[in-house]
Amino acid sequence: MSQHLSRALPGEHVHITTDPWTEPFWLAAREGRLVSAQCGDCGKFRMPPTPYCPHCQSQNTQWPTLAGTGTVYSYAVCNRSPFPGVEDFIYIPIVVELDDAPGIRLVSNLVGIDPEQVKIGMAVSVEWNPINDDWRQPIFRAR
Protein backbone atom coordinates (compact mmCIF):
# COMPACT_ATOMS: atom_id res chain seq x y z
CA MET A 1 0.00 0.00 0.00
CA SER A 2 1.31 3.40 -0.90
CA GLN A 3 2.54 5.33 2.13
CA HIS A 4 1.11 8.63 0.99
CA LEU A 5 -2.47 7.39 0.65
CA SER A 6 -4.92 7.71 3.52
CA ARG A 7 -5.90 4.62 5.45
CA ALA A 8 -8.72 3.41 7.63
CA LEU A 9 -8.05 3.28 11.34
CA PRO A 10 -6.75 -0.13 12.42
CA GLY A 11 -9.98 -1.92 13.30
CA GLU A 12 -8.56 -3.71 16.30
CA HIS A 13 -8.22 -0.30 18.01
CA VAL A 14 -11.73 0.95 17.20
CA HIS A 15 -14.49 0.32 19.72
CA ILE A 16 -18.15 1.27 19.66
CA THR A 17 -21.05 0.66 21.99
CA THR A 18 -24.77 0.77 21.31
CA ASP A 19 -28.04 1.41 23.09
CA PRO A 20 -31.54 0.40 22.00
CA TRP A 21 -31.89 3.58 19.91
CA THR A 22 -28.57 3.31 18.08
CA GLU A 23 -28.23 -0.44 17.68
CA PRO A 24 -30.21 -0.73 14.39
CA PHE A 25 -27.56 1.46 12.68
CA TRP A 26 -24.76 -0.86 13.74
CA LEU A 27 -26.70 -4.09 13.06
CA ALA A 28 -27.30 -2.90 9.49
CA ALA A 29 -23.62 -1.91 9.21
CA ARG A 30 -22.69 -5.44 10.17
CA GLU A 31 -24.66 -6.56 7.09
CA GLY A 32 -22.96 -3.95 4.91
CA ARG A 33 -26.01 -1.67 4.71
CA LEU A 34 -25.79 2.05 5.45
CA VAL A 35 -29.00 3.16 7.13
CA SER A 36 -30.22 6.29 8.92
CA ALA A 37 -32.85 6.91 11.53
CA GLN A 38 -35.87 8.53 9.87
CA CYS A 39 -39.03 9.75 11.57
CA GLY A 40 -41.91 7.42 10.77
CA ASP A 41 -44.34 10.32 10.96
CA CYS A 42 -42.76 13.46 9.46
CA GLY A 43 -40.06 11.72 7.41
CA LYS A 44 -37.14 13.83 8.65
CA PHE A 45 -33.78 12.08 8.98
CA ARG A 46 -31.72 12.29 12.17
CA MET A 47 -28.24 11.08 13.08
CA PRO A 48 -26.92 10.03 15.51
CA PRO A 49 -30.17 8.21 16.28
CA THR A 50 -32.08 9.63 19.25
CA PRO A 51 -35.29 8.50 21.00
CA TYR A 52 -37.44 11.35 19.66
CA CYS A 53 -37.77 13.15 16.34
CA PRO A 54 -36.56 16.71 17.09
CA HIS A 55 -39.00 18.06 14.48
CA CYS A 56 -42.26 16.45 15.66
CA GLN A 57 -41.28 14.57 18.86
CA SER A 58 -42.52 11.28 17.44
CA GLN A 59 -40.84 8.07 18.60
CA ASN A 60 -41.92 6.21 15.50
CA THR A 61 -38.58 5.46 13.82
CA GLN A 62 -37.75 3.69 10.58
CA TRP A 63 -34.37 2.67 9.19
CA PRO A 64 -34.29 2.93 5.39
CA THR A 65 -31.27 1.50 3.59
CA LEU A 66 -29.40 4.31 1.83
CA ALA A 67 -27.43 4.22 -1.40
CA GLY A 68 -24.21 4.85 0.53
CA THR A 69 -23.17 7.76 -1.66
CA GLY A 70 -22.55 11.33 -0.60
CA THR A 71 -20.26 14.33 -0.74
CA VAL A 72 -17.49 15.65 1.49
CA TYR A 73 -18.72 18.61 3.56
CA SER A 74 -15.42 19.18 5.38
CA TYR A 75 -12.33 17.24 6.38
CA ALA A 76 -9.01 17.21 8.21
CA VAL A 77 -5.74 15.52 7.34
CA CYS A 78 -3.98 13.72 10.20
CA ASN A 79 -0.62 12.03 9.95
CA ARG A 80 -0.04 10.85 13.49
CA SER A 81 -1.36 7.61 14.87
CA PRO A 82 -4.21 8.21 17.29
CA PHE A 83 -3.29 4.99 19.10
CA PRO A 84 -0.25 4.49 21.36
CA GLY A 85 2.12 1.89 19.98
CA VAL A 86 0.76 2.10 16.43
CA GLU A 87 3.11 3.49 13.79
CA ASP A 88 2.07 6.86 12.32
CA PHE A 89 -0.10 6.76 9.22
CA ILE A 90 -2.22 9.18 7.22
CA TYR A 91 -5.92 9.27 7.93
CA ILE A 92 -8.56 11.73 6.82
CA PRO A 93 -11.54 12.37 9.09
CA ILE A 94 -14.43 13.61 6.94
CA VAL A 95 -17.89 15.01 7.49
CA VAL A 96 -20.14 13.53 4.81
CA GLU A 97 -23.52 14.61 3.52
CA LEU A 98 -25.53 11.71 2.14
CA ASP A 99 -27.27 11.94 -1.23
CA ASP A 100 -30.53 10.37 -0.13
CA ALA A 101 -30.80 11.51 3.51
CA PRO A 102 -31.00 15.30 3.51
CA GLY A 103 -30.29 17.17 6.74
CA ILE A 104 -27.87 14.75 8.35
CA ARG A 105 -24.13 14.21 8.28
CA LEU A 106 -21.87 11.31 9.14
CA VAL A 107 -18.39 11.67 10.65
CA SER A 108 -16.19 9.08 9.01
CA ASN A 109 -12.89 8.54 7.20
CA LEU A 110 -11.85 8.92 3.58
CA VAL A 111 -9.49 6.12 2.55
CA GLY A 112 -7.16 5.32 -0.32
CA ILE A 113 -6.49 8.87 -1.43
CA ASP A 114 -3.58 11.29 -1.61
CA PRO A 115 -4.48 14.09 0.85
CA GLU A 116 -3.69 16.65 -1.86
CA GLN A 117 -6.56 15.30 -3.93
CA VAL A 118 -9.27 15.76 -1.30
CA LYS A 119 -11.76 18.54 -2.03
CA ILE A 120 -14.87 19.75 -0.28
CA GLY A 121 -17.80 18.67 -2.42
CA MET A 122 -16.13 15.58 -3.87
CA ALA A 123 -18.30 12.50 -4.39
CA VAL A 124 -17.70 9.50 -2.14
CA SER A 125 -19.24 6.09 -1.52
CA VAL A 126 -19.32 3.86 1.52
CA GLU A 127 -17.15 0.86 2.35
CA TRP A 128 -16.83 -1.08 5.57
CA ASN A 129 -13.97 -1.38 8.04
CA PRO A 130 -14.12 -4.38 10.42
CA ILE A 131 -13.69 -3.24 14.04
CA ASN A 132 -13.90 -4.85 17.48
CA ASP A 133 -16.70 -7.20 18.55
CA ASP A 134 -17.61 -8.07 14.96
CA TRP A 135 -18.96 -4.60 14.27
CA ARG A 136 -18.24 -2.77 11.01
CA GLN A 137 -17.52 0.94 10.68
CA PRO A 138 -18.62 2.93 7.62
CA ILE A 139 -15.70 4.53 5.77
CA PHE A 140 -15.70 6.27 2.41
CA ARG A 141 -13.71 6.25 -0.82
CA ALA A 142 -13.74 8.74 -3.69
CA ARG A 143 -15.95 7.63 -6.59
Binding site: L9, V14, H15, I16, T17, T18, D19, W21, T22, W26, M47, P48, P54, Y73, S74, Y75, A76, V77, C78, N79, R80, P82, F83, Y91, P93, I94, V95, I104, R105, L106, V107, S108, N109, P115, I120, I131, Q137
Partner: protein, 397 residues
Protein backbone atom coordinates in the same frame (compact mmCIF):
# COMPACT_ATOMS: atom_id res chain seq x y z
CA UNK B 1 -34.17 46.79 26.29
CA UNK B 2 -31.23 47.15 28.63
CA UNK B 3 -31.28 44.76 31.58
CA UNK B 4 -32.56 46.26 34.82
CA UNK B 5 -29.71 44.69 36.83
CA UNK B 6 -26.80 46.06 34.76
CA UNK B 7 -23.84 46.95 37.01
CA UNK B 8 -25.65 45.75 40.17
CA UNK B 9 -23.02 43.08 40.87
CA UNK B 10 -19.25 43.30 40.75
CA UNK B 11 -16.10 41.22 40.80
CA UNK B 12 -14.18 42.21 43.91
CA UNK B 13 -11.39 39.68 44.27
CA UNK B 14 -9.19 37.53 42.07
CA UNK B 15 -6.64 34.89 42.96
CA UNK B 16 -4.46 32.47 41.04
CA UNK B 17 -1.72 29.91 41.52
CA UNK B 18 1.40 29.91 39.37
CA UNK B 19 0.84 28.25 35.99
CA UNK B 20 2.55 24.96 35.20
CA UNK B 21 3.21 22.96 32.05
CA UNK B 22 0.82 20.02 32.12
CA UNK B 23 1.45 17.54 34.90
CA UNK B 24 4.16 19.63 36.53
CA UNK B 25 1.97 21.01 39.32
CA UNK B 26 2.29 17.67 41.10
CA UNK B 27 2.88 17.11 44.09
CA UNK B 28 0.40 19.92 44.55
CA UNK B 29 -3.18 18.66 44.31
CA UNK B 30 -6.32 19.98 42.63
CA UNK B 31 -7.86 20.95 45.97
CA UNK B 32 -4.70 22.56 47.30
CA UNK B 33 -4.54 24.77 44.21
CA UNK B 34 -8.25 25.61 44.63
CA UNK B 35 -7.40 26.70 48.18
CA UNK B 36 -4.57 28.97 47.06
CA UNK B 37 -6.74 30.61 44.40
CA UNK B 38 -9.70 31.19 46.75
CA UNK B 39 -7.58 32.45 49.65
CA UNK B 40 -5.76 34.71 47.20
CA UNK B 41 -9.05 36.11 45.92
CA UNK B 42 -10.27 36.71 49.48
CA UNK B 43 -7.05 38.53 50.40
CA UNK B 44 -7.29 40.59 47.22
CA UNK B 45 -10.87 41.58 48.09
CA UNK B 46 -10.20 42.16 51.77
CA UNK B 47 -12.58 39.40 52.80
CA UNK B 48 -12.22 36.50 55.23
CA UNK B 49 -12.70 33.11 53.60
CA UNK B 50 -15.41 32.63 56.23
CA UNK B 51 -17.44 35.31 54.39
CA UNK B 52 -17.79 33.08 51.31
CA UNK B 53 -21.31 31.70 51.13
CA UNK B 54 -21.78 30.76 47.51
CA UNK B 55 -20.22 28.81 44.64
CA UNK B 56 -21.03 29.30 40.96
CA UNK B 57 -19.13 26.83 38.79
CA UNK B 58 -19.23 25.97 35.10
CA UNK B 59 -18.54 22.84 33.12
CA UNK B 60 -20.51 20.68 35.53
CA UNK B 61 -18.04 21.68 38.28
CA UNK B 62 -15.48 19.42 36.67
CA UNK B 63 -11.85 20.33 37.36
CA UNK B 64 -10.58 19.91 33.84
CA UNK B 65 -12.22 16.88 32.28
CA UNK B 66 -11.43 14.13 34.78
CA UNK B 67 -11.49 15.51 38.32
CA UNK B 68 -14.37 17.25 40.07
CA UNK B 69 -14.68 20.30 42.31
CA UNK B 70 -16.87 19.66 45.32
CA UNK B 71 -18.25 22.44 47.51
CA UNK B 72 -18.39 20.32 50.66
CA UNK B 73 -14.74 19.33 50.29
CA UNK B 74 -13.73 22.95 49.75
CA UNK B 75 -15.74 24.09 52.81
CA UNK B 76 -14.09 21.38 54.90
CA UNK B 77 -10.64 22.27 53.61
CA UNK B 78 -10.90 26.07 54.06
CA UNK B 79 -13.26 26.36 57.02
CA UNK B 80 -16.19 27.96 55.22
CA UNK B 81 -19.03 27.77 57.79
CA UNK B 82 -22.11 27.70 55.55
CA UNK B 83 -23.11 28.04 51.92
CA UNK B 84 -26.51 29.27 50.77
CA UNK B 85 -25.95 28.74 47.05
CA UNK B 86 -23.92 26.15 45.15
CA UNK B 87 -24.64 25.51 41.48
CA UNK B 88 -22.99 25.00 38.14
CA UNK B 89 -23.54 25.72 34.50
CA UNK B 90 -23.65 22.58 32.38
CA UNK B 91 -21.42 21.75 29.43
CA UNK B 92 -17.67 22.44 29.38
CA UNK B 93 -15.39 25.45 29.05
CA UNK B 94 -18.09 27.31 27.13
CA UNK B 95 -19.63 28.42 30.40
CA UNK B 96 -16.61 30.16 31.94
CA UNK B 97 -17.78 33.73 31.33
CA UNK B 98 -21.37 32.72 32.04
CA UNK B 99 -20.46 31.46 35.51
CA UNK B 100 -20.16 35.12 36.55
CA UNK B 101 -23.76 35.48 35.38
CA UNK B 102 -24.73 32.54 37.56
CA UNK B 103 -22.96 34.15 40.53
CA UNK B 104 -24.73 37.44 39.80
CA UNK B 105 -28.10 35.69 39.58
CA UNK B 106 -27.56 34.22 43.04
CA UNK B 107 -26.64 37.62 44.46
CA UNK B 108 -29.51 39.47 42.78
CA UNK B 109 -31.92 36.78 44.02
CA UNK B 110 -30.62 37.29 47.54
CA UNK B 111 -29.42 33.69 47.77
CA UNK B 112 -25.78 34.48 48.55
CA UNK B 113 -23.53 37.45 49.33
CA UNK B 114 -20.00 36.47 48.26
CA UNK B 115 -19.87 33.91 45.49
CA UNK B 116 -16.73 32.11 44.31
CA UNK B 117 -16.18 30.97 40.74
CA UNK B 118 -13.14 28.74 40.47
CA UNK B 119 -11.38 26.38 38.08
CA UNK B 120 -8.50 24.10 38.99
CA UNK B 121 -6.77 21.95 36.47
CA UNK B 122 -4.11 19.27 36.67
CA UNK B 123 -3.31 17.17 33.63
CA UNK B 124 -1.34 14.41 35.26
CA UNK B 125 -3.22 11.25 34.41
CA UNK B 126 -4.63 12.38 31.04
CA UNK B 127 -3.79 15.32 28.83
CA UNK B 128 -6.69 17.30 27.42
CA UNK B 129 -5.27 17.43 23.90
CA UNK B 130 -6.27 13.83 23.21
CA UNK B 131 -8.95 13.49 25.86
CA UNK B 132 -11.67 12.27 23.53
CA UNK B 133 -9.52 9.49 22.17
CA UNK B 134 -9.04 8.23 25.71
CA UNK B 135 -12.74 8.25 26.60
CA UNK B 136 -14.55 4.97 26.85
CA UNK B 137 -16.90 4.57 23.91
CA UNK B 138 -20.53 5.37 24.60
CA UNK B 139 -23.50 5.10 22.24
CA UNK B 140 -23.32 8.80 21.33
CA UNK B 141 -19.58 9.22 20.82
CA UNK B 142 -19.52 5.97 18.84
CA UNK B 143 -20.66 8.15 15.94
CA UNK B 144 -17.64 10.44 16.30
CA UNK B 145 -14.65 8.79 17.96
CA UNK B 146 -14.07 6.03 15.39
CA UNK B 147 -13.08 8.74 12.89
CA UNK B 148 -9.86 9.34 14.84
CA UNK B 149 -10.76 12.92 15.79
CA UNK B 150 -9.06 12.37 19.12
CA UNK B 151 -9.13 15.83 20.67
CA UNK B 152 -10.94 19.15 20.54
CA UNK B 153 -8.37 20.61 18.15
CA UNK B 154 -8.90 17.79 15.69
CA UNK B 155 -12.63 18.42 15.83
CA UNK B 156 -12.21 22.15 15.30
CA UNK B 157 -9.87 21.66 12.35
CA UNK B 158 -12.91 20.50 10.39
CA UNK B 159 -14.74 23.75 11.20
CA UNK B 160 -11.68 25.78 10.29
CA UNK B 161 -11.46 23.99 6.93
CA UNK B 162 -15.06 24.89 6.19
CA UNK B 163 -14.40 28.54 7.07
CA UNK B 164 -11.41 28.58 4.70
CA UNK B 165 -13.53 26.99 1.98
CA UNK B 166 -16.47 29.38 2.34
CA UNK B 167 -14.65 32.64 2.91
CA UNK B 168 -11.11 32.21 1.64
CA UNK B 169 -9.67 32.47 5.15
CA UNK B 170 -5.91 31.86 5.09
CA UNK B 171 -3.59 30.14 7.51
CA UNK B 172 -1.91 33.55 7.81
CA UNK B 173 -4.96 34.67 9.79
CA UNK B 174 -4.61 31.80 12.25
CA UNK B 175 -0.89 32.63 12.45
CA UNK B 176 -1.70 36.24 13.34
CA UNK B 177 -3.87 35.11 16.27
CA UNK B 178 -0.96 33.02 17.57
CA UNK B 179 1.61 35.77 16.97
CA UNK B 180 -0.53 38.43 18.66
CA UNK B 181 -0.97 36.17 21.66
CA UNK B 182 2.77 35.57 21.86
CA UNK B 183 3.66 39.26 21.52
CA UNK B 184 1.38 40.03 24.47
CA UNK B 185 2.75 37.21 26.62
CA UNK B 186 6.41 38.12 26.18
CA UNK B 187 6.58 40.54 29.11
CA UNK B 188 4.38 38.48 31.45
CA UNK B 189 6.32 36.71 34.21
CA UNK B 190 3.74 33.94 34.63
CA UNK B 191 3.33 33.14 30.92
CA UNK B 192 4.44 29.69 29.77
CA UNK B 193 5.45 30.80 26.24
CA UNK B 194 7.40 34.06 26.14
CA UNK B 195 9.75 33.67 23.18
CA UNK B 196 9.06 35.65 19.99
CA UNK B 197 7.08 33.87 17.29
CA UNK B 198 7.58 34.60 13.60
CA UNK B 199 5.42 33.72 10.63
CA UNK B 200 8.19 31.42 9.41
CA UNK B 201 8.20 29.53 12.70
CA UNK B 202 4.44 29.25 12.54
CA UNK B 203 4.57 27.67 9.09
CA UNK B 204 7.33 25.30 10.23
CA UNK B 205 5.20 24.02 13.11
CA UNK B 206 4.06 20.41 12.59
CA UNK B 207 0.53 19.87 11.36
CA UNK B 208 -1.55 18.04 13.95
CA UNK B 209 -4.87 18.10 12.12
CA UNK B 210 -4.42 19.91 8.82
CA UNK B 211 -5.34 22.83 8.44
CA UNK B 212 -4.24 23.27 12.09
CA UNK B 213 -0.65 23.02 13.28
CA UNK B 214 0.67 22.72 16.82
CA UNK B 215 0.81 26.51 17.23
CA UNK B 216 -2.93 26.75 16.53
CA UNK B 217 -3.54 24.62 19.63
CA UNK B 218 -3.54 26.26 23.05
CA UNK B 219 -1.28 25.26 25.90
CA UNK B 220 -1.90 22.28 28.12
CA UNK B 221 -1.28 23.65 31.58
CA UNK B 222 -2.05 23.18 35.29
CA UNK B 223 -3.14 25.76 37.83
CA UNK B 224 -6.15 27.37 39.47
CA UNK B 225 -7.92 30.72 39.26
CA UNK B 226 -10.74 31.99 41.50
CA UNK B 227 -12.83 35.17 41.41
CA UNK B 228 -15.33 36.54 43.93
CA UNK B 229 -18.56 38.25 42.88
CA UNK B 230 -20.78 40.27 45.22
CA UNK B 231 -23.31 43.09 45.02
CA UNK B 232 -22.00 46.45 43.85
CA UNK B 233 -23.34 47.93 47.07
CA UNK B 234 -21.28 45.57 49.25
CA UNK B 235 -18.32 46.01 46.92
CA UNK B 236 -18.01 49.68 47.91
CA UNK B 237 -16.77 48.63 51.39
CA UNK B 238 -14.08 46.29 50.09
CA UNK B 239 -10.42 46.75 49.31
CA UNK B 240 -10.40 46.97 45.49
CA UNK B 241 -12.11 49.23 43.07
CA UNK B 242 -15.05 47.02 42.00
CA UNK B 243 -15.30 45.79 38.42
CA UNK B 244 -18.96 45.92 37.48
CA UNK B 245 -20.85 43.06 35.86
CA UNK B 246 -22.80 44.90 33.19
CA UNK B 247 -24.31 41.75 31.69
CA UNK B 248 -23.65 38.06 31.15
CA UNK B 249 -25.37 35.57 28.88
CA UNK B 250 -25.02 31.89 28.18
CA UNK B 251 -26.78 29.26 26.10
CA UNK B 252 -26.93 28.72 22.37
CA UNK B 253 -29.19 27.54 19.59
CA UNK B 254 -30.02 23.98 18.58
CA UNK B 255 -28.40 24.67 15.20
CA UNK B 256 -25.09 24.77 17.10
CA UNK B 257 -26.00 22.20 19.74
CA UNK B 258 -23.28 19.71 20.53
CA UNK B 259 -21.23 21.49 17.87
CA UNK B 260 -18.02 19.74 16.93
CA UNK B 261 -18.96 16.69 18.98
CA UNK B 262 -21.81 16.27 16.49
CA UNK B 263 -20.96 18.02 13.19
CA UNK B 264 -24.66 18.38 12.37
CA UNK B 265 -24.70 22.17 12.70
CA UNK B 266 -26.72 24.03 10.10
CA UNK B 267 -24.65 25.46 7.28
CA UNK B 268 -24.94 28.97 8.75
CA UNK B 269 -23.49 27.83 12.08
CA UNK B 270 -20.93 25.20 11.04
CA UNK B 271 -18.09 27.61 10.25
CA UNK B 272 -18.76 29.77 13.30
CA UNK B 273 -17.97 29.97 16.99
CA UNK B 274 -21.59 29.26 17.93
CA UNK B 275 -21.71 32.57 19.81
CA UNK B 276 -23.87 34.70 17.51
CA UNK B 277 -27.10 34.55 19.50
CA UNK B 278 -25.41 34.71 22.90
CA UNK B 279 -23.47 37.75 21.61
CA UNK B 280 -26.56 39.56 20.36
CA UNK B 281 -28.38 38.95 23.65
CA UNK B 282 -25.32 40.12 25.56
CA UNK B 283 -25.03 43.44 23.75
CA UNK B 284 -28.78 44.04 24.01
CA UNK B 285 -28.78 43.24 27.73
CA UNK B 286 -25.77 45.49 28.35
CA UNK B 287 -27.07 48.28 26.12
CA UNK B 288 -23.74 48.64 24.33
CA UNK B 289 -22.36 47.95 20.84
CA UNK B 290 -19.28 46.03 19.70
CA UNK B 291 -17.59 49.37 18.91
CA UNK B 292 -17.99 50.39 22.58
CA UNK B 293 -15.78 47.49 23.74
CA UNK B 294 -12.24 48.57 24.61
CA UNK B 295 -10.62 45.19 25.09
CA UNK B 296 -11.74 41.65 24.14
CA UNK B 297 -10.73 38.62 26.16
CA UNK B 298 -11.70 35.91 23.70
CA UNK B 299 -11.53 32.24 24.60
CA UNK B 300 -8.61 31.09 22.49
CA UNK B 301 -8.30 27.32 22.73
CA UNK B 302 -7.73 27.18 18.96
CA UNK B 303 -6.75 30.09 16.74
CA UNK B 304 -9.62 29.82 14.19
CA UNK B 305 -12.13 30.20 16.99
CA UNK B 306 -10.80 33.68 17.76
CA UNK B 307 -11.37 34.63 14.12
CA UNK B 308 -14.92 33.25 14.23
CA UNK B 309 -15.75 34.90 17.57
CA UNK B 310 -14.70 38.28 16.17
CA UNK B 311 -17.36 37.69 13.51
CA UNK B 312 -20.02 36.38 15.90
CA UNK B 313 -19.50 39.33 18.28
CA UNK B 314 -19.80 41.77 15.40
CA UNK B 315 -16.29 43.24 15.40
CA UNK B 316 -16.30 42.45 11.68
CA UNK B 317 -18.72 40.93 9.19
CA UNK B 318 -19.37 37.21 8.74
CA UNK B 319 -16.55 35.70 6.72
CA UNK B 320 -14.36 38.77 7.16
CA UNK B 321 -12.57 37.57 10.29
CA UNK B 322 -9.48 36.42 8.44
CA UNK B 323 -8.81 39.72 6.69
CA UNK B 324 -9.74 41.58 9.88
CA UNK B 325 -7.05 39.92 12.01
CA UNK B 326 -4.52 40.05 9.19
CA UNK B 327 -5.00 43.85 9.13
CA UNK B 328 -3.55 44.08 12.65
CA UNK B 329 -6.91 44.93 14.22
CA UNK B 330 -6.44 42.64 17.27
CA UNK B 331 -3.00 43.90 18.28
CA UNK B 332 -2.53 46.25 21.24
CA UNK B 333 -2.39 49.11 18.72
CA UNK B 334 -5.40 47.84 16.75
CA UNK B 335 -9.07 48.75 16.81
CA UNK B 336 -9.92 45.95 19.26
CA UNK B 337 -7.00 44.62 21.32
CA UNK B 338 -7.51 40.89 21.91
CA UNK B 339 -6.05 38.98 24.86
CA UNK B 340 -3.39 41.37 26.18
CA UNK B 341 -2.56 38.63 28.71
CA UNK B 342 -1.41 36.22 26.02
CA UNK B 343 -4.50 34.08 26.40
CA UNK B 344 -4.57 30.33 26.44
CA UNK B 345 -2.27 30.11 23.44
CA UNK B 346 0.72 31.67 25.21
CA UNK B 347 0.08 32.45 28.88
CA UNK B 348 -1.85 29.51 30.37
CA UNK B 349 -4.97 27.46 29.81
CA UNK B 350 -7.18 27.41 32.88
CA UNK B 351 -10.37 26.82 30.87
CA UNK B 352 -11.29 30.46 30.42
CA UNK B 353 -10.55 31.80 33.90
CA UNK B 354 -7.45 33.76 32.89
CA UNK B 355 -9.66 35.82 30.57
CA UNK B 356 -11.90 36.86 33.46
CA UNK B 357 -8.82 37.67 35.55
CA UNK B 358 -7.42 39.83 32.76
CA UNK B 359 -10.76 41.59 32.28
CA UNK B 360 -10.70 42.55 35.96
CA UNK B 361 -7.11 43.81 35.83
CA UNK B 362 -7.78 45.83 32.66
CA UNK B 363 -10.70 47.61 34.33
CA UNK B 364 -8.86 48.18 37.58
CA UNK B 365 -6.15 49.75 35.44
CA UNK B 366 -3.53 47.35 36.79
CA UNK B 367 -2.95 45.08 33.79
CA UNK B 368 0.61 44.37 32.70
CA UNK B 369 -0.35 45.25 29.11
CA UNK B 370 -2.89 47.92 29.95
CA UNK B 371 -5.28 49.17 27.26
CA UNK B 372 -5.34 52.91 27.90
CA UNK B 373 -8.54 54.13 29.58
CA UNK B 374 -10.29 50.76 29.16
CA UNK B 375 -13.87 51.13 30.32
CA UNK B 376 -15.63 48.09 28.86
CA UNK B 377 -14.23 44.58 28.51
CA UNK B 378 -15.76 41.61 26.73
CA UNK B 379 -14.97 38.15 28.11
CA UNK B 380 -16.07 34.96 26.35
CA UNK B 381 -16.28 31.25 27.16
CA UNK B 382 -16.16 28.35 24.72
CA UNK B 383 -16.65 27.89 21.75
CA UNK B 384 -17.84 24.42 22.65
CA UNK B 385 -21.02 22.42 23.09
CA UNK B 386 -23.85 24.48 24.55
CA UNK B 387 -23.61 26.55 26.64
CA UNK B 388 -21.28 29.14 25.21
CA UNK B 389 -21.18 32.40 27.12
CA UNK B 390 -20.22 36.04 27.16
CA UNK B 391 -19.67 38.67 29.81
CA UNK B 392 -19.33 42.45 29.66
CA UNK B 393 -17.47 44.10 32.51
CA UNK B 394 -17.36 47.84 33.22
CA UNK B 395 -14.86 50.01 35.04
CA UNK B 396 -16.47 51.61 38.10
CA UNK B 397 -16.52 55.38 38.39
Amino acid sequence: MTWEHCDKTAIVGVGATPYYVRGQSWPRTINEMIGEAILGACADAGLSVRDIDGFAYYGGAKAGYIDTMDTASIMEMLGIPEVTFTATLTGGGGGSAGAIGLASAAIIAGDAKYVVTVMSLQQRAQRLGTVFGALKPDPENSFLQPSGLVGPGHLMSVLARRHMHLYGTRREAFAEVAINSRLNAMNRPKAIRRTPLTLEEYFASPMLADPLCRLDFCLETDGAVAVITTSTERARDLKQKPVLVTAATHGGRAEWGRAFAWMGMSDEYFASSGHKDVAQRLFAKAGVKPSDIDVALLYDHFTPMVVMQLEDYGFCGKGEGGAFVESGAIRMSGSIPVNPHGGQLSEAYIIGMTHILEGVEQLRGTAINQVADAELALVTGGPASIPVSGLILRRSA
